[in-house]
Symmetry: C2
Subunit: 354 residues, 2 copies
């Protein structure tokens, strides 16, 4: 298997692990935007500049205390690039056309560095559960190590220079993926998300800006990074996340107390359909997996790992599904293979009857 294929078939650490608050928080991400001094931004498409940036980055990667593999994106198929987007290791933008694009990944796929996306470097750390502090610590370590080799564009007044002004300053964007089925079912979701917005966070769907909130999963992130220290940014968002987690847990308890049969029926039906369907669309599967995860987190369903949603919401995506099956699949074929994969992951359905 080529290195690229391996990279996209194995699971990223964030999909498998459990972290703090993993009943509600799926993953925590810290990302730094950096540019090299003396070279034009990628948007200018100065191929020689970008080539040199890429060369310098690859060289700097050799000396890092982490082993990172560098993928030149023009060597990858469309499917392979899409699969990397599906598991949140790079942006949709980075999968599109553009010169000298690259992606560096560690074996656990916790550290990913996009080269020549909007900025020369986007250094990302992605952890399971609520681990923003740890994600920040690691992304800072990687950044510090790179800074010893690379000359970053930095000004006293503006901090790190970035293509988009919202990234000026620390260049830090932190985001947390949360699963809010309880708030959805109690009808309190919009209100909560509005509160989150008033507290200064951006709310997005599963695949960032403009994407839909499939499976009741939302990305909450800071909007600006200028004028705040990194720790302040992380503290702010952590405080909001604490409140969201608390509200979600309350909503689930309320459902369990006031609509127990409702909720158990919904959860078990989701299980029954996931375990027995012979074909299923992405949309239906993610909606049912959302119910299933809530059932597991509420201990209504036992014997299935709570990470089932994190895992499958990536593995059943079109590109990843095709890579897993080692061939191109049309929509109808994907629906069948998706159902098979889910059935397999659920252990064939025979284990989890109360």
């Amino acid at each position: 298997m080529s290195q690229e294929k391996r990279v996209q078939k194995e699971q990223s650490k964030w999909m498998q692990g459990k972290g703090p608050m993993s009943d509600v928080v799926i993953s925590s991400r810290a990302r730094l935007a950096r540019n090299l001094a003396d070279f034009s931004f990628p948007s200018r498409e100065q191929k020689e500049d970008l080539q040199e940036v890429s060369r310098q980055v690859v060289e700097a990667l050799q000396d890092l205390p982490y082993r990172l593999d560098f993928l030149a994106l023009d060597q990858l198929s469309e499917l392979e690039k899409k699969a990397l987007v599906e598991r949140h290791l790079m942006s949709i933008n980075q999968a599109g056309p553009g010169p000298e694009k690259g992606l560096a990944l560690d074996r656990d796929q916790m550290i990913s560095i996009m080269v020549n996306e909007e900025d020369h470097l986007r250094i990302q750390v992605l952890y399971p559960g609520m681990q923003l502090q740890d994600a920040l610590r690691l992304v800072d370590e990687v950044d510090d190590a790179l800074e010893q080799k690379l000359k970053y564009a930095f000004q006293e007044k503006w901090g790190y220079l970035t293509c988009c002004p919202t990234n000026l300053g620390t260049g830090l964007r932190v985001s947390v993926m949360v699963h809010l089925p309880g708030l959805k079912m109690t009808g309190n979701l919009q209100q909560t998300l509005q509160l989150v917005a008033r507290l200064g966070l951006a709310v997005r769907g599963l695949y960032g800006e403009g994407s839909e909130s499939a499976g009741n999963v939302f990305q909450l992130s800071n909007q600006t990074s200028l004028g705040l220290r990194e720790e302040e940014i992380v503290d702010n968002i952590s405080g909001v996340i604490d409140q969201v987690v608390e509200k979600e847990r309350q909503a689930r308890q309320e459902l369990l107390q006031q609509r127990e049969v409702d909720i158990k029926d919904r959860i078990w039906r989701a299980y029954g359909l996931l375990a027995y369907a012979r074909r299923i669309t992405s949309e239906e599967a993610i909606a049912l997996l959302s119910d299933l995860k809530m059932g597991i987190d509420l201990q209504i369903i036992e014997g299935i790992d709570s990470s089932i949603l994190s895992q499958l919401m990536v593995l059943i995506r079109p590109a990843t599904l095709q890579l897993i099956n080692n061939r191109e699949l049309d929509e109808a074929q994907r629906d069948i293979k998706r159902a098979e994969l889910i059935k397999e992951k659920l252990g064939g359905g025979e284990k989890h009857v109360r």
Copy 2:
């Protein structure tokens, strides 16, 4: 347990057994309408007449070669009467008000005799599968035995006299309950039922005239009994049923060949929902049980008896469900108990995965 309760809790033979063509034919029924000479029809509500009819019938039952228990319907609760209707042992009409109504039943609930319904006597035999000839033979035996004790109203010209002219002549009504999910799914159902109607049969839903065709189950019966011998009536309807069964089997094979994934998906989803739902309405359950039975008959699902539909389409009905649970249940409670009963009958869901 009172005799009445026992009678309605145990299963009728037709619900359990398999007969010929039981992949399509659920049950076969032969029914004779008889009236005693010298007494007015029940519709006249001459209480003394009806009392005497009932007395004579009960007396005649003592000497039959079959053991039949006689239930005076005014001694039964509404629930108990409804449960007898739900298992097709008496008509909806017989469960309603009216003087001196009775029902005689054998232990297997294959023979049932309504007393003082529209006619003084409605003698019914109900068999599983396609067994019209046998049903006719047994109903004739019971009729002959009763005729030795009772003086039937009979005229050479009109045959047995009955309240409704459509029952004149032999007084015989034969009907067959068929399960036609394949024709429904291939879109050929209406065409087939129209053919059946052109061939002189009446088409009704699960609970006779005006009732809906829940679960793709239909009752096909002869329309008149005057001018034909009993054997001719049975031969006619048997010929039509043969054609319907053939068309249904063809439809299922066509589905399996042309829409295999479709059909398997539908069947397994039905199983998944039935095995895991925590509450379910009658309508949804019967629709899903219809899919499940087709899956069993097509050997897509193994390890579940094909009689599951015949059994459950009675046991999950409101009155029967309440009798099984020994208490009155409101609609929401019934939905929960119905789901529990189905789950139990399916063996908890863990056996039938592949």
